[in-house]
């Protein structure tokens, strides 16, 4: 049940009561968001149906293909910035040849999933929140529920399935382009030969870093869809509410990507 009547509550009598009510509200929001996530995952069993497949492919097109230009630019420049900053420091120790290894390690472990997550949260996540929010404001969600169509299965599941695949893919793509951008800077600015750069980069690349990074991106996909759809579902008060939901979804996604990213890194290293 997505659409529900707003609870009627008496105003809080004291600051302590307001604080306690706020804590309960936050916990309730977390619970509802988690229920959306669990419901969408549960609906994955219908992911291979013809209609669901078409929806998933459409969402993947929107998330991956349409986001490719912005992801490419961000990834390439992130790699260039990393190479430049690391290379300048390494040059002090006459070790600029190791720039490739540092760029590769940081892209695989953190920057790849992190940057792709942020870009997709800002572009795709915001779009999802706005779309679902508009549907909520226009009472399309209510109409779906009246028609006994599960919004989680109909709206959230294809997005979640698409993002669960797309974000790791974009993460790897970001890593590859970032390393390439780092190579350009290393060669042109730091005079590191191409072969040396890529040799060092491959020497320091590890399977664990790659797969932990992909796992992180996979989690970010779930987070982006859950938060964005949740913010969309709780939209109210028309266009203003849609704007607020969009903004709130981006902020929450950024914070959760940072926090979850840290704890996943801590878990594996």
């Amino acid at each position: 049940m997505i659409v529900r009547e707003p609870p009627v509550r008496e105003p809080a009598r004291s600051a302590v009561q307001r604080l306690g009510r706020r804590v309960f509200d936050v916990l309730a929001e977390v619970g509802r968001a988690s229920m959306i996530c669990v419901g969408a995952v549960a609906a994955m069993r219908f992911a291979l149906t013809k209609r669901a497949r078409k929806d998933i492919v459409a969402q993947m097109h929107f998330c991956a293909v349409r986001s490719l230009p912005v992801v490419s630019v961000v990834a390439f420049f992130i790699g260039m910035i990393l190479a430049l900053q690391i290379g300048i420091e390494l040059r002090v120790y006459n070790q600029e040849a190791l720039t490739g290894s540092a760029v590769m390690a940081s892209m695989l472990r953190e920057m790849g999933p992190f940057m792709s997550g942020l870009v997709l949260a800002a572009s795709v996540g915001a779009a999802m929140a706005a779309q679902v929010g508009t549907m909520m404001v226009n009472e399309e969600i209510a109409a779906l529920e009246i028609m006994d169509i599960d919004p989680l299965r109909f709206l959230v599941m294809p997005r979640m399935a698409a993002m669960a695949v797309t974000v790791p893919m974009m993460s790897f793509y970001t890593c590859a382009l970032g390393v390439l951008g780092g190579a350009v800077v290393s060669h042109t600015q730091l005079a590191v030969p191409w072969a040396t750069y890529f040799q060092n980069a491959m020497d320091f690349a590890s399977t664990k870093a790659l797969w932990v990074g992909l796992f992180k991106a996979f989690l970010f996909g779930f987070i982006i869809v859950t938060v964005s759809c949740y913010e969309g579902f709780r939209t109210e008060h028309g266009a203003v509410g849609v704007g607020r939901a969009t903004r709130q979804s981006v902020v929450t996604n950024f914070l959760l990507i940072l926090i979850v990213g840290y704890f996943v890194t801590r878990l594996f290293y």
Binding site: V65, L68, Q95
Partner: protein, 339 residues
């Protein structure tokens, strides 16, 4: 129809992107995992090391400065750390080989370095039980070096360094003030320079004279060989003299001649001389005592002198008488002889 085409294009784009990225991911995973899918000629080696120094699977294996393979497995056992590696080159190990782990940089990274050993030594056939050497850790070495420097600084060396620095400072000041020979040399005062210039002029003059063959040294250095001839002759003479001296020394050594006998170890002469000296001493003692005729003659007792004197006086008188009688006797003799 338009929607259908758009849908088809979207599906194609997504499919291509997914295929491309998944293919890239697969290639990358294989590349970094160190698996060799295409080359069949791989050689497996295993070495036991006392310390692996953080060596990990996929770290490179280096021989003769080039990458020849990668580490496949590292595990701990009771006899040490076992390191398995996969080589793409047929590295041949000889007795005296060395296997160790080295740091690739100060930022980390390890590699297994193989030194095959002397090619003239016998080949090690069992490459599954190679023995590695304890690696030298860059950080440990650096820590030790820092400790030594600290130890050095904690001794009097630092004080000595300060003292040396102060001495240098004083020296610099003295040089700047033109004190001492070096200071004068470095000072702007050109007296030393003038003297030095004059000395150099003198040396040049001397060298010119030497060049011309003037003076004894000049003659010695000249190409004229008169001096040399004379010197040569003198040396020859000296050589002859030395030969003569040698001959004399040999004769002396042999105890020949008076001097030789004197210097010889034969003490006959000494004994005779000693006896003669003893006799002389005895005679002188007797003379001192006034014994014998000569002793009496030399004694302070003038009785003998007086007797002798009297005798001499008597003898003189007798002679006078005889002289006077002699003329008559001679005449008589002549006279008588006529008959």
């Amino acid at each position: 129809m338009k929607n259908k085409n758009r849908e088809l294009a979207a599906e194609l784009a997504v499919g291509a992107l997914v295929a491309l990225i998944f293919a890239g991911l697969a290639v990358f995973t294989i590349a970094i995992s160190g698996k060799n899918l295409f080359r069949k000629n791989v050689f497996q080696i295993e070495t036991v090391m006392p310390d692996a120094m953080g060596l990990r699977p996929n770290d490179p294996v280096i021989a003769k400065g080039t990458t020849v393979g990668s580490v496949t497995k590292v595990f701990y056992d009771r006899d040490g750390v076992h390191v398995q590696a996969q080589l793409e080159a047929p590295v041949e190990f000889h007795e005296g080989y060395e296997i160790t782990v080295v740091s690739t940089s100060i930022l980390g990274g390890r590699q297994l370095v193989l030194k095959e050993g002397d090619e003239t030594s016998p080949v090690v056939e069992d490459v599954r039980h190679l023995v590695g050497r304890r690696p030298s850790d860059l950080m440990e070495d650096a820590t030790e070096a820092v400790a030594r420097v600290r130890e050095f600084l904690e001794t009097d060396a630092l004080t000595n360094l300060y003292t040396f620095s102060e001495s240098l400072k004083v020296l610099g000041l003295r040089l700047e003030n033109g004190e001492g020979t070096l200071g004068r040399l470095l000072s702007s005062d050109d007296e030393m320079y003038t003297n030095l210039n004059a000395a150099v002029a003198n040396i040049k003059l001397i060298s010119d004279r030497l060049e011309k063959g003037e003076g004894t040294l000049g003659r010695l250095l000249s190409s004229d060989d008169e001096m040399y001839t004379n010197l040569n002759a003198a040396v020859a003479d000296a050589r002859d003299a030395i030969a003569d001296l040698k001959s004399i020394a040999a004769r002396l050594e042999a105890g020949e001649g008076t001097l030789g006998r004197l210097l010889s170890s034969d003490d006959e002469m000494y004994t005779n001389l000693n006896a003669a000296v003893a006799n002389i001493k005895l005679i002188s003692d007797r003379l001192e005592k006034g014994e014998g005729t000569l002793g009496k003659l030399l004694s302070s007792d003038d009785e003998l002198y007086r007797n002798v004197n009297g005798t001499v006086t008597d003898a003189r008188e007798l002679l006078d008488d005889m002289r006077e009688a002699n003329t008559l006797s001679t005449f008589t003799s002549l006279l008588l002889s006529g008959f």
